[in-house]
């Protein structure tokens, strides 16, 4: 049961890659990578590449931009790996690099509207939440997945970068408020208020599909 004022994403609905990896295994790999072991860093990349890519992709709505930024973030992380002291978990530290790089990129790009239209994977048709959403009695019950995807992306792009980032990290990536606060360098109250405001905005933009 969810606590009042908070809606938790059911664990089973999260993608496999969002399960938090073991910090102990990370610590060993990080130590070896700090010693110049590229094999260990390759293993760290394999652990986090999907999460980093997905975060950047949902922010930029472009596979090409997400690919460039993911590579840049992971190369940069290698270059500054010596400065990682273990004060936070490795993936929080890595996320911070990726998130800062993405926010800087979006500021430079300006508010150019871009809608992602990547193909959905085959599993989507079996996602119980989505099946229920589409078959629910709504004014737009005839809306197909691609239309929903398009409208959702349009609504996401209307949010400011900081509000979109919170939605991506919490509602799509499944990170906790505390983790998001550490990544973005703000307190959990700020994270919660940004999330609430962003959801309200999305709610307003997508009212036809949600009521």
């Amino acid at each position: 049961m969810s606590a009042p004022g908070k809606v938790d994403v059911p664990a089973e609905s999260l993608p496999a890659e969002t399960a938090t990896p073991s910090p102990d295994k990370d610590a060993d790999l990080v130590r070896r990578a700090q010693g110049g072991d590229l094999g260990a860093y390759d293993e760290l990349i394999r652990r986090y590449q999907e999460r980093i890519y997905a975060t950047i992709y949902h922010m930029t709505s472009s596979h090409e931009d997400a690919n460039d930024l993911t590579q840049e973030a992971l190369v940069k992380a290698w270059q500054v790996l010596g400065s990682f002291k273990g004060d936070s978990s490795f993936y929080t530290w890595l996320y911070r690099i990726a998130v800062n790089r993405t926010l800087n990129f979006l500021k430079q790009r300006g508010r150019r509207f871009q809608v992602s239209l990547n193909d959905l994977d085959a599993k989507v048709e079996h996602d119980p939440e989505l099946v229920s959403l589409i078959s629910h009695k709504t004014p737009r019950r005839e809306a197909g997945l691609s239309e929903l995807q398009e409208k959702l992306n349009e609504a996401m792009q209307k949010l400011s970068e900081t509000h979109r980032m919170v939605v991506v990290l919490h509602d799509i990536q499944g990170l906790s408020h505390e983790e998001i606060g550490r990544i973005l360098g703000c307190n959990t109250g700020t994270v919660r208020s940004r999330l609430f405001y962003a959801r309200q905005q999305l709610q307003a933009h997508l009212s036809d599909y949600l009521t």
């Binding site: 994403v9 609905s13 999907e50 890519y53 590579q71 989505l130 629910h136 995807q149």
Partner: protein, 146 residues
């Protein structure tokens, strides 16, 4: 009109946001990505080991923006060189037509160049007591008695 969103509304919104999790990059992308990143790291490490002039020459190959910057610099140097050359030529022409200074000798005949190429005034002008007429060689005027 937007009524205050309820928790169930947010729940449906979150279900809709779950759709984003099914957006995937091209097949095989995550198999290739680590190799591309490691190759990039090795390339950049090798580039840092190269001498500065080699990096400077190769930089435009890796960055189109830097290539354009180098091209712009080359054009600026050529144009700047041309302008500077024109200015130097114009200056030389101005010097060539400039009138002689006021304190220069009136006639070049009065300036005698010695073997070193330096000019000095005639000896009779600087020797004290010298005159234009050599008195020792001048006979006194008189009438010869037959």
């Amino acid at each position: 009109m937007n009524p205050e969103p309820s928790e169930s509304d947010f729940a449906r919104l979150k279900a809709l946001l779950a759709l984003k999790r099914h957006e995937q990059p091209p097949p095989g992308y995550f198999d290739r990505l680590p190799g591309q990143i490691i190759a990039r790291i090795e390339r950049e490490a090798a580039a840092r080991r190269r001498p500065w002039w080699e990096r400077w020459f190769n930089a435009p190959l890796s960055s189109p923006a830097l290539g354009w910057a180098y091209a712009g610099l080359a054009v600026a140097l050529v144009v700047g060189g041309g302008v500077l050359g024109k200015m130097v030529r114009a200056n030389q022409q101005v010097n060539a037509v400039k009138p002689a200074p006021v304190n220069a000798p009136a006639s070049p005949a009065l300036v005698i160049a010695d073997t070193n190429g330096t000019s000095s005034p005639p000896a009779f002008l600087v020797q004290p007591g010298s005159t234009l007429v050599n008195t020792q060689q001048t006979l006194p005027a008189g009438f010869k008695q037959p």
